[in-house]
């Protein structure tokens, strides 16, 4: 039976930059998915685009394209990415420039647009869409002017269209990670738009792939069993028309693919396992069957799905004040006591300066003493050294900036054994808060635009 190979070369913006190149060169591959958008990345891109209308996409993607363009053209490997961010057309123009520089001709690049709802928010609110925050229930209307980005999560359909029109590279903005794997499979096998079991299978293949090495030995509980983690291979799904697939990686790469490494990734960022809702389908993770099928091969089958819901998830963001964090290292006898004193000193000096923070607006962590898991692990007695990390947040930028000036004085005007303060005063950072909401899908789908151009 014919198989289609889909891999993931980038689990998030900041992932290993050589991994997708090795995924391309290490063996047979048909499609490579590349994820660049965390929940608040689009808000950052919005600011870049306002400064320069040629920006607003993931520039790292261009570096990748420059390294591989002649090769993907020659081998017919197709690349799918959300690197387009808020400006996929500008991203395409840049790719065409790179193609001209490299002398690569006939490259077709598809762009999916329609996810960006920011310009349409007032109109949507006026039409009666609450866009209520899914965490708090608060309607968006009263705060709509504060939103700095608002994007719908798109599904596989527009990507399938771009592939059908012959795109070698498909650039999207906000789209589910799972759609980047489902789309090529639905395209290749001609899966029907209401074939819920197969759509669920492609979706779950995408969920396994979406965090790169997290299914091939990265972040695995029994880390001591993982061979050559440094050379970890990124994942590949070998899919068949019937919706069954094998999770694997290129031969000779590090890491491992076992029922256990795949199962851990299946549960990653999971809510209700029987109802994994995407724009394409509702996938049921309680139907998945996993079986080892030789070394570094896991067979996945049995997947069932249910019809898609009538809404799409919206990811909006807004500015919600400022935050700052700073840290010092405290060493020597009674390090923990000295670190606690140093924290007290900072808060008291700020108070003398007229700057106070509510209890839930400040954080003291003694890193080394179980700060990540307070009360979970038995606390040690004294430590030879400990990192004191202080953080604050507030709507008032000046207060947050003033906090940043109280870390360095601890070196000379704090307890002894304080070191490790470098890199200047911590600066206030804007807090970009996340606003998840739901919107009737036809409001988005009627505005989708797919264009495929060649250069």
């Amino acid at each position: 039976m014919r198989t289609v190979r889909v891999g993931n070369g980038q689990g998030f913006w900041g992932d290993n930059v050589d991994a997708p190149v090795e995924l391309l060169r290490g063996g047979p591959i048909d499609y490579i998915g590349m994820d660049y958008l965390a929940e608040v990345t689009l808000s950052i891109m919005m600011r870049q685009k306002l400064k320069d209308p040629r920006l607003g996409y993931a520039t790292d993607f261009i570096d990748f394209v420059r390294r591989v363009l002649p090769e993907i053209r020659e081998r017919g490997v197709r690349i799918l990415s959300n690197a387009g961010g808020l400006n996929p057309r500008a991203c395409r123009e840049r790719i065409f420039e790179v193609a001209r520089e490299l002398g690569v001709h006939g490259i077709r690049v598809g762009v999916v647009e329609g996810d960006d709802l920011l310009p349409r928010l007032p109109e949507l609110v006026a039409a009666g869409h609450a866009l209520a925050n899914m965490d708090t229930g608060e309607p968006i209307g009263p705060v709509v002017e504060r939103m700095t980005s608002a994007n719908a999560y798109l599904g596989a359909r527009p990507v399938i269209q771009a592939l059908a029109e012959g795109a070698d590279i498909v650039l999207c903005g906000r789209i589910t990670d799972t759609a980047l794997a489902l789309a090529p499979l639905a395209h290749e096998f001609g899966w029907a738009d209401d074939d819920w079991d197969r759509l669920a299978a492609g979706t779950i293949a995408g969920h396994i792939l979406e965090c790169g090495a997290q299914c091939t030995g990265g972040n695995f509980s029994r880390w001591w069993e993982v061979p050559d983690l440094a050379g970890v291979g990124y994942p590949i799904v070998e899919a068949r028309e019937d919706g069954t697939f094998v999770v694997t990686k290129h031969p000779g790469t590090g890491g491992m693919v076992t029922v256990d490494t795949v199962a851990e990734q299946l549960l990653y960022e999971m809510a209700s396992p029987s109802a994994y809702i995407t724009p394409d389908v509702v996938a049921d993770f309680t139907t998945i069957r996993l079986a080892q099928d030789g070394k570094d091969r896991v067979q996945v089958s049995g997947i069932e799905g249910r019809p898609r819901t009538g809404t799409l998830k919206i990811s909006a963001s807004h500015l919600a004040g400022y935050k700052s964090s700073g840290q010092i290292t405290v060493s020597g006898p009674r390090a923990v006591d000295k670190a606690r004193l140093a924290a007290d000193v900072v808060w008291k000096r700020l108070e003398r300066a007229g700057v106070t923070f509510e209890d839930d607006q400040k954080e003291v962590e003694l890193v080394g003493l179980g700060a990540c898991l307070p009360g979970v692990l038995p606390a040690p007695g004294d430590l030879p050294e400990v990192v004191l990390r202080l953080a604050v947040r507030d709507a008032d930028r000046d207060k947050v900036e003033r906090f940043g000036k109280e870390i360095a004085p601890l070196i000379t005007a704090g307890p002894p054994g304080v070191t490790g303060f470098a890199g200047g005063r911590p600066k206030p950072q804007e807090i970009v808060a996340y606003w998840p909401a739901l919107l009737a899908r036809e409001e988005v789908e009627a505005h989708l635009v797919v264009t495929v151009e060649e250069a």
Binding site: E39, V40, D135, Q214, N219, F220, S221, R222, D260, A263, E264, Q265, L266, L267, Y268, E269, M270, A271, S272, P273, S274, F285, T286, T287, I288, R289, L290, G302, A320, K323, S325, K362, E363, E365, V367, A371, C372, L373, P374, G375, V376, L377, R389, A391, V392, R393, I431, V432, A433, Y434, P436
Partner: protein, 110 residues
């Protein structure tokens, strides 16, 4: 025999807004029954009492010999708003694996 979960299971955690999720996977179907009986939401809530301010939900995933826990209100506001080092609950799986359970001797790996 009383053993830490690390001996009989493995786990992964991540974030969902201000909640973390911990997927806990038993090393066999027999051990899954041990988990289902002893690793209750109430016990997980107590175990993470120092960081989990909300309720704990539990879902069963028997086909993977797994339980999925949602620890509500555990990330200090979540994502970008949190002031914590572990704002995404990345370490919570490791934290759960130190919980101890009572396991029939014949099921404990040597």
């Amino acid at each position: 025999m009383r053993v830490p979960l690390e001996r009989i299971a493995h786990a992964r955690s991540g974030d969902k807004g201000d909640a973390s999720n911990v997927g806990l996977i038993a090393n066999s179907a027999e051990l899954y029954r041990v988990l289902r009986e002893q690793v209750t939401p109430e016990r997980v809530k107590r175990h993470f009492g120092g960081l989990c301010r909300g309720p704990v939900e539990r879902f069963e995933v028997p086909n993977l010999n797994a339980l999925n826990f949602i620890l509500h209100d555990s990330l200090g506001g979540g994502g970008t708003e949190s002031l914590k080092t572990d704002a995404q609950g990345k370490t919570h799986a490791q934290g759960l694996l130190v919980m101890e359970v009572e396991v029939p001797d014949e099921l404990v790996p040597r």
